[in-house]
């Protein structure tokens, strides 16, 4: 019985470390996209296959602070992008935050990335929600996250 309990604790710990490396992330309440920006729709929303390119951009530009799986890094207080508080943001709000950054929290502006590529990153961020909401991590899913093999996204 104690082995089962220990196993459960270990599994929970592994799942937490996989999917919520900064689960205590608290958003900056003053860092809000203007209403007009929040209402913007992703022009690539009908092309989910482009999320694979977004993943490449994410690893290149965002993974240093948010981790390769987007779960954030507690030691630098970066956002866990899988958390509902992030995923509930509109596409437009996420795009605005990537574009403008938040200097007070040390997040730079990524306006140097072409606009459509920033929308591709938003597409990829939505796949993190699917990962977080898909229940306990499967072995193949974990392998994909940590080996940096291409995720199971349709590629054009």
């Amino acid at each position: 019985m104690s082995k089962i309990r220990a196993g459960s604790v270990l599994a929970a710990f592994l799942a937490a470390s996989c999917f919520a490396q900064n689960p205590n992330y608290q958003p900056d309440p003053e860092w809000r996209a203007p209403t007009q920006a929040q209402a913007r729709e992703n022009p690539l929303a009908a092309r989910p296959e482009l999320a694979a390119g977004g993943r490449k951009l994410f690893v290149r530009n965002c993974a240093e602070c948010h981790g390769r799986d987007g779960a954030g890094l507690e030691k630098i207080h970066s956002a866990d992008l899988q958390l509902p508080v992030v995923q509930q943001e509109s596409d437009g709000a996420l795009f605005w935050k990537i574009t403008n950054g938040n200097a007070r929290r040390g997040m730079p502006s990524f306006s140097k990335i072409p606009e459509l590529q920033r929308w591709q990153i938003v597409l990829y961020l939505r796949t993190l929600k699917n990962q977080a909401g898909s229940g306990p991590a499967t072995k193949s899913h974990q392998q994909q996250l940590f080996s940096l093999q291409p995720l199971s996204l349709p590629v054009s």
Binding site: K75, A103, S109, Q117, Q120
Partner: protein, 289 residues
């Protein structure tokens, strides 16, 4: 030439994946700052193709660019120069700081720039041109003894419109070692990536890894003689190629538009970005950044 080619090919072959997003400009600054805690190490050269009465030269420089905060970038330059049939000399150092005034993106994004230069008159990297431009005729022996302590300010205005970057720089410089008045200069640049969507796979020759543009820059005289008379102006295309996530190669042939210039200035630059530099240094000393 062969050794340069070998070094270049080695740099290309050593890269594992493709795609940093660096501005292709050599002279014009944009409002895009270095990410906080990252260090860019850049090795560049300016080659002057001479006209009659001038000598060919190559002016290499090393640039260390550090992101102090999300809105403040600091850079240190060390530079030299070697003139054909003359000599090779160290020409001095520069320390510059750029501060992005507004926290959010706007149609026009202003950046304030302040630089201290400790150079001699043989400096020919021509990172900016102020006043009339550098002396391209006198021998190094005559130029190196004259040291300049100069303070330089710039107003950088930069806009991203769709996928274009349009930047304008206005320069004023005061040399505290000589009575030259306050000198003026300008730089304009336009650039665009060749592709605006990222492909799913890593590649070195994808269009998304290239950015093209053009620069126009020159001097505008000084408070003693303002205007374009007897001043140097260049125009040229610029191209950057992201060799990897961390490194970028840039090239620009600039064409002299006035008699005070070299007919052609060839510029090469290779940048390597050290991500998380501050964190690595902090770890080295056993501290958290």
């Amino acid at each position: 030439m062969k050794s340069i080619l070998i070094v270049f090919l080695s740099l290309v072959l050593l890269q594992l994946s493709a795609g940093a997003q660096e501005s292709p400009f050599f002279i014009t600054y944009t409002h895009h700052m270095e990410e906080p805690g990252n260090l860019d190490v850049e090795v560049s050269t300016t080659h002057g193709i001479p006209r009659s009465g001038q000598n060919a030269y190559i002016a290499p420089y090393v640039e260390l660019e550090y992101g102090v905060t999300a809105r403040w970038t600091s850079e240190l330059y060390l530079e030299g120069q070697s003139t054909l049939g003359d000599s090779s000399v160290f020409t001095g150092w520069r320390w510059e700081n750029r501060y992005k005034v507004l926290g959010r993106e706007h149609w026009i994004n202003p950046v304030l720039y302040l630089e201290y230069e400790n150079l001699n008159e043989a400096s020919r990297i021509q990172k900016e041109i102020e006043g009339g431009g550098p002396d391209l005729v006198s021998p190094n022996a005559l130029l190196t003894p004259t040291h300049d302590h100069e303070l330089e300010g710039k107003l950088i205005l930069s806009s991203d419109y769709r996928d274009w970057n349009i930047s304008e720089n206005f320069t004023l410089a005061k040399n505290f070692s000589q009575s030259e008045g306050v000198e003026f200069g300008y730089a304009f640049g336009v650039s665009r990536p060749l592709a605006t969507l990222a492909s799913a796979h890593d590649c070195r020759l994808c269009r998304e890894n290239f950015a093209l543009g053009a620069e126009l820059y020159g001097g505008l005289g000084s408070t003693l003689e303002f205007g374009v008379h007897n001043t140097a102006h260049y125009f040229g295309p610029v191209i950057s190629w992201a060799l990897s996530d961390n490194s970028t190669l840039r090239l620009s042939p600039g064409f002299g538009l006035t008699h005070e210039t070299n007919p052609v200035l060839l510029r090469f630059g290779y940048t390597y970005e050290v991500q998380g530099f501050a964190e690595r240094v902090a770890k080295l000393f056993g501290r958290r950044p």
